[in-house]
């Protein structure tokens, strides 16, 4: 579980369409919006990788001008990395000196 809060920015006139497009992505919940085109958005993702994918999709919505992160919780993933159940390494390898010796 990775939870993130964002203010998504769009043109004020396209706010409603943007909210619909955001919610259509799934895992994205909109909690409110203001008249300036700022949308309070929360993403409930499986992992950081999943979150990254969703954010790229959010950024890909035509009306979206900016996706600004305000909060991120990665406690599940951090625990898994610390216990060795998950590697944050793109291509897991041995420790540097082990590799060299």
């Amino acid at each position: 579980m990775v939870i993130a809060g964002f203010v998504v920015q769009c043109q004020p006139q396209s706010q409603q369409d943007t909210v619909v497009a955001l919610e259509a992505l799934g895992q994205v919940e909109v909690f409110g919006a203001d008249e300036k085109g700022n949308i309070v958005t929360v993403v409930d993702a499986e992992s950081s990788a999943d979150l990254e994918k969703i954010v790229k999709k959010m950024e890909g919505i035509e009306q979206v001008l900016n996706v600004g992160l305000t909060y991120l919780n990665v406690e599940d993933e951090a625990k898994k990395i610390a216990s060795g159940d998950l590697s944050p390494n793109p291509f897991p390898r041995k420790k540097h000196w082990e590799k060299l010796n």
Partner: protein, 795 residues
């Protein structure tokens, strides 16, 4: 209803975002039991770019588990970008260096050694070099990512202890021309205003910067300003259409290196149409040419005669029209507040200082300066290039507190503060970066310390310098958190260091603002903060060289625990003794004051009381800058007290259009330019180890304009060879309406030997700033095959 942890976190996330907008949600009080969450929040700065975003790291059971922005922060108002959000993953990363590694010869394999052995070897090699080959046979090469305390201590030991000014850092590769521009135009380094001008500006002039990718949170602020105020004009001047251009009302796309003509032409129009501010000029301005000869307004005006909009449009390649130049000049001059922002597109040039001067000229001519919303603001690339390196004494010609090395009185002030004999600091500046690495090539540097940077990848024309770095003539120590191409090729000794939030210290961002980050979690076992490493090394050096002055340099720091007390003592010495009374006065910005602030303090900030307000938003303005009062020479509202301009004036420079070192010809018909991509940072030693960021952009590609691609039969994804007079790369093509026709563009992060673009770039330097011309060289391209499956490469 029972609230699950997932619900709690989602509500917390929503409340955080809503609070930025002043929006009330129907669940203001999240469940009390869960609200008493055991996560401890530690305030600090983002580790990555020069924006200086403030955030809080959530730590639970010793692990980094969460991040949140600091909405009260004047740098980012709480917003963070996606690149900044991932750096927590580097804290417990399995590839972190955790033990000192040593090899006597660079062709040997590294062996694990103890810290005691490592420090002994480091001290032995530097002491031996000094004894046998003299003080200037040793050198320090640091980083705009090191903490101020680290840069300051390193340079103190090298200058005061080892008696060499061979103290440099990678900001020479990115910011030196901005320093040169500010010094020669305004008489003092660093911007007059800052980010606060964004929300007041009516015209943005963004030149040579892709801030949407390189400074995303600043870009967000600019975009917000434009959305809220449709009358705001955004002008983007750049040979490449980038993500930044998409908010521009006017995009000026010109041949690389012709922007000096554009800037002079804008000045031409401003004067021709009488849009300049004559009163401001009368009161505050002198005109200069050449190396500083005084001229008058008429002579300056005459120097612009060759830059009519029609002529400039031709010089620029014909895509920009004369009318566009006129329009842009008018908007620049007549808006309520014009804010220029630029970065490497102007700095990394053989004419980098001149390009900076010409932007400043426009602001001085029009008086678009010193008032709300108006400034000439150079954006910094690295988080502490300004604070640590420009202010803390991290370049070969500058002592701490913006003091020029060559001034005896300045050297004496530093010697006195350090309690070392007069004359201890050598009188001449040391070797600048490119001269330093040339000296390595020549075998003249016998021992070198490289801290927190990877010159094997980041120097221009790197094949040339890597020959020397690979030789055993120079003993090299690297302090870093991960292996890099430099540890692999050049290091004899690799020392593992603590990362951001694993140690305490100050970063100073673009807008003269110093911000503290306190240690929040332990570094991996075996890694140490640099300040501890340097202190221990200096102790041994003093013994091996039998030199009590080296001991004196570290005496104030003896016995202090390295996590907080040691960096605090170093900051105290630096801020209280060496910035007091200078234009970057941080006397009021003690650790206590900095820790009490959401963001930090903009200097000058001579007292704690004043520093607590946030410091000086606008330099030189009486009523806003305390030094404008204490250094005033008359009753005028603006006081230019910068030490480099004894006449207390702003200087407008007559500077002609001048070509880059290389322009395309029959053999090398394309311009090559390089830059950043949003997901990655510099040499990718950090961002390449974060799977989400690596996957987003696993390797570099070459952007080719569709017209050129059609002409050369290059299709998207085809493998393309890029060759200059210095080296070759092969990477996939991205056929894209980005670079202007006749130009190609590559990202410089990739470590793979085939895609390391600095093998191709140019090492010509600006004669004033000594900054290399990374941004422009000539190359040829050809398709070598269709698309190929590539693997990312991280050493």
């Amino acid at each position: 209803m029972v609230q699950t942890r997932r619900d709690f976190l989602k509500r917390t996330a929503a409340l955080s975002a809503a609070s930025y907008l002043g929006m009330l949600l129907p669940f203001q009080d999240v469940d009390n039991a869960l609200a008493a969450d055991e996560t401890a929040w530690h305030r600090g700065s983002c580790r990555l770019c020069g924006v200086g975003c403030r955030l809080e790291l959530g730590v639970k059971n010793g692990l980094p588990v969460a991040l949140r922005g600091v909405p009260q922060s004047r740098t980012n108002m709480g917003y963070l970008c996606m690149k900044g959000m991932h750096f927590w993953k580097l804290m417990n990363h399995p590839e972190r260096l955790t033990t000192p590694l040593y090899r006597a010869k660079k062709s040997d394999k590294f062996k694990k050694i103890s810290w005691d052995e490592a420090m002994d070897i480091a001290a032995d090699k530097f002491a031996g070099a000094v004894k046998e080959h003299g003080n200037d046979s040793v050198a320090y090469y640091g980083s705009g990512q090191a903490l101020t305390e680290e840069t300051y201590l390193f340079q103190k030991i090298f200058r005061g202890g080892l008696q060499t000014n061979n103290v440099e850092g990678n900001p020479r590769l990115c910011m030196a021309s901005a320093v040169g521009g500010y010094m020669t135009s305004f008489g003092a380094d660093e911007p007059i205003g800052g980010y606060a001008d964004i929300e007041k500006a009516d015209c943005f002039f963004i030149i040579g910067s892709n801030m949407a990718e390189a400074h995303p949170v600043i870009f967000r602020r600019v975009m917000r300003r434009k959305l809220d105020n449709p009358q705001v004009t955004v002008i983007n001047a750049d040979p490449r259409i980038s993500l930044t251009s998409r908010i521009a009302d006017i995009h000026l796309q010109f041949n690389p290196g012709t922007d000096l003509a554009l800037l002079n032409s804008m000045a031409y129009v401003i004067i021709e149409e009488k849009l300049h501010n004559q009163q401001f000029i009368n009161d505050y301005v002198a005109f200069k040419k050449g190396k500083g000869d005084t001229i008058d307004f008429e002579e300056y005006k005459k120097s612009l005669a060759d830059y009519t909009p029609e002529k400039a449009a031709t010089i620029m390649g014909g895509k920009v029209t004369a009318d566009q130049i006129r329009e842009v000049a008018r908007k620049f001059a007549s808006s309520k507040g014009t804010l220029s922002m630029w970065t490497m597109g102007l700095n990394q040039r053989k004419q980098g200082v001149w390009a900076n001067n010409l932007v400043h000229n426009l602001h001085i001519l029009t008086g678009q300066l010193l008032k709300e919303g108006a400034d000439s603001l150079s954006l910094t690339g690295q988080p502490n290039a300004c604070g640590g390196v420009r202010e803390g004494g991290g370049l070969c010609h500058i002592l701490p507190g913006h003091r020029p090395v060559e001034k005896e009185a300045m050297r004496n002030q530093v010697e006195e503060a350090w309690g070392v004999p007069k004359g201890r600091i050598p009188a001449l500046p040391g070797l600048h970066t490119m001269a330093m690495f040339s000296a390595v090539n020549e075998g003249k540097i016998k021992a070198m310390w490289i801290n927190c940077t990877s010159p094997v990848q980041s120097l221009p024309n790197c094949n040339k310098y890597n020959t020397g770095l690979a030789k055993d003539d120079t003993f090299i120590v690297c302090t870093d958190i991960f292996p890099t191409l430099t540890t692999e090729l050049a290091a004899n000794l690799v020392l593992p260091t603590a990362f951001h939030f694993e140690k305490t210290g100050v970063y100073g961002c673009t807008e003269r603002r110093s911000q503290i980050t306190r240690k929040a979690i332990d570094p991996p076992k075996g890694a140490k903060p640099e300040v501890e490493i340097v202190r221990d090394w200096a102790n041994l050096l003093a013994k091996k060289l039998n030199d009590p002055v080296i001991s004196q340099c570290i005496k104030p720091f003896a016995g202090l625990e390295p996590e907080y007390a040691l960096p605090k003592a170093i900051w105290e010495e630096y801020s209280q003794k060496l910035t007091k009374g200078t234009d970057c006065d941080l006397t009021g910005a003690t650790y206590e004051v900095l820790e009490g602030m959401y963001d930090g303090v903009q200097w000058p900030a001579p007292t704690a009381e004043y520093a607590k307000t946030g410091g000086t938003v606008k330099k030189f303005v009486r009523g806003m800058d305390p030094m404008a009062e204490t250094h005033k020479t008359d009753d005028k509202p603006y006081q230019f007290y910068g030490a480099a301009h004894p006449d207390h004036k702003l200087w407008i420079w007559a500077r002609p259009q001048a070509n880059p070192e290389e322009i395309p010809d029959g053999d090398y018909p394309f311009y090559l330019s390089t830059g950043r991509i949003i997901d990655h940072w510099h040499t990718m030693s950090m961002t390449g180890r974060i799977p989400e960021l690596l996957r987003a952009n696993p390797y570099s590609y070459i952007e080719v304009n569709p017209k050129d691609a059609t002409r050369l039969g290059i299709k998207p994804g085809d493998m393309v060879e890029i060759t200059s007079r210095r080296g070759t790369n092969i990477m996939p093509a991205k056929v894209y309406e980005g670079p202007i026709e006749g130009m190609v563009f590559a990202y410089w992060h990739d470590q793979h030997p085939d895609r390391m673009i600095n093998k191709v770039t140019m090492d010509a330097i600006d004669p004033g700033s000594k900054e290399p011309e990374f941004k422009i060289c000539a190359c040829k391209i050809k398709k070598v095959s269709g698309p190929q499956a590539l693997k990312p490469y991280i050493v």
